[in-house]
Assembly symmetry: C2
Homo-oligomer: 354 residues x 2
Amino acid sequence: MDRLQVHVPGKTYEVILSDGLRHQLDDYIEKAYSSVLIIADQQVADLYLNDITNSLKDREQVFQKVIPAGESSKSFEWYKKLLDYCVECRLDRKSLIIALGGGMIGDLAGFVAASYLRGVSFIQLPTSILAHDSSVGGKVAINHEEGKNLIGAFYHPDKVLYDTETIRTLPLKEKRSGYGEVVKHALLSDEGWFSEVVTRRLDSLSSEEVRADLIRGIELKASIVERDEKESDVRKHLNLGHTLAHAIEAELHYHSLTHGEAVVIGTLFALHVSGLNDSYQKLLEWAKDNDYPLDVMADMDVHALVDRMKMDKKAEKGQINYVLMEGVGLPYVTRLDEKRLVQSLKHFKSEVRE
Amino acid sequence: MDRLQVHVPGKTYEVILSDGLRHQLDDYIEKAYSSVLIIADQQVADLYLNDITNSLKDREQVFQKVIPAGESSKSFEWYKKLLDYCVECRLDRKSLIIALGGGMIGDLAGFVAASYLRGVSFIQLPTSILAHDSSVGGKVAINHEEGKNLIGAFYHPDKVLYDTETIRTLPLKEKRSGYGEVVKHALLSDEGWFSEVVTRRLDSLSSEEVRADLIRGIELKASIVERDEKESDVRKHLNLGHTLAHAIEAELHYHSLTHGEAVVIGTLFALHVSGLNDSYQKLLEWAKDNDYPLDVMADMDVHALVDRMKMDKKAEKGQINYVLMEGVGLPYVTRLDEKRLVQSLKHFKSEVRE
């Protein structure tokens, strides 16, 4: 078992990683909660909801709500339905909401927890690699038709309980998605870890590799969030690859490629614009070897992408803030003007096509 | 001009009270905001929106959204519409949302500001007496069909700018509503102020009286919020009169009586249950003299009220937490069981009818 601590203003919470943790869940959750609502997506519920409810069977007042899997459930509609369900279950201020699933569920259930009765307790049970990123740091949100995560809050969980066993059974596409954030974290961290990550073969990952990468990722994320919870400074670096990624995802209506896959494309583009050729080539090769869907760039309308980027939460007065790299471990934020962005995107499109 | 400061964890903000402040608004609002969205209700907009936009005429990117007056606009539907409008105006993280109006607008626009892009800046321009209470303390929310303020956040404004001139033109019903919170604050504070407040004739209030009461009310509220922002302790005392008030309002579907009017009834009930006969009689007389609609109690179904109270945000495990008084200035929180509550309500109904 591994235990990490995350410190944010006014709160410290633990991230616990352990194989099979879901079966001993009851030991990790205080008895004082008046009731528990588990929110899960259908896919994860089919696999693990029974284990969870079994583990909590000695408690009174355990409710559950299963919603359709996929980013399209991170909507205003589901936000409202879940709040209605909280009211229906008469959850009170001492209630706990458990988010069982990947980043989508964590974001959605987290925003419900943040806003129901102006905030109730909230525990994350991530079941994906990607969620190692989203479950730490307190960003919760839903999507708006016009863009990802446009509505939300900063709201930290009481705990993150990571059953690392649940990762083994992930489909390859999900591993690719998770490693999108892992490789981003490695690039933000240091050359050593980055060089290691680009040796990973995602179709034959060992438990030890995943666990080591998760822990390093969470440590990096926690150390950044501790210094800058509200993203006024260094936390911005975590957006490496995300400005383009969000635009691509929106253009594809959150279908056909996963968030982490989009992040790899966005990160490649950031390295390209940064002129870090070595790292760019390493990442490109690794992405190709592991079947990242780089070909989606071919059909992208560059101007449509730029319009989306101007709508990004991090944009200010229509100017696009971009995270670039001086070198591995050396990110910085800069404003890119529209013209340069259009040119670079055109160039990048032709590069990745080859 | 009067200036008061409110200190909460991580933030200090000012409350500025001044006659005619709306004409000099531009002087009080920093230039750094990338854009401004003014949210007002129709009634207030008709009176003051022109003054506000005139005062801000030298700024680029000033947007406005006028919504129907009344508590029924504090809905999920309007919350979504306002967020849509934020997106449509391309508000960014450096944008400012101004809430121009009473408590309804402050709560609604405040929750929009709290959740759009996970939080943008927010300034309150209260135009009612009641809003002296709601504009200080950071509670923002919308209503759910099943109860008031069930969805929201703790989110503090950057400033509260109080144009005390706007209060003079308030209709008597609004003054009654405002003085519901004033008299509650006085009761929580001390006998001297309480005895003063119950001499106020609401149909002939002087500017000096209102201003003095507002400042004392804001001071009391600020001092409580500073000690207990998240309502785990002394802030609960501010719910004096509110448990019953919310139930009455919900039973009447937020029509026919105002929040402050309901609070006076709720506060009377709390004094009744507390056995503080002297204060009860003083408040009752004052309420009658000033035409508070005490007669709504006559048609209330006691059991329906109790069911509503069990749904109150402050209820825990179905137990109703109630603020009672040992004496003026000496509130405490206790749990009332359902039976006692039903009996007391029946008794109270017959008492106020006389």
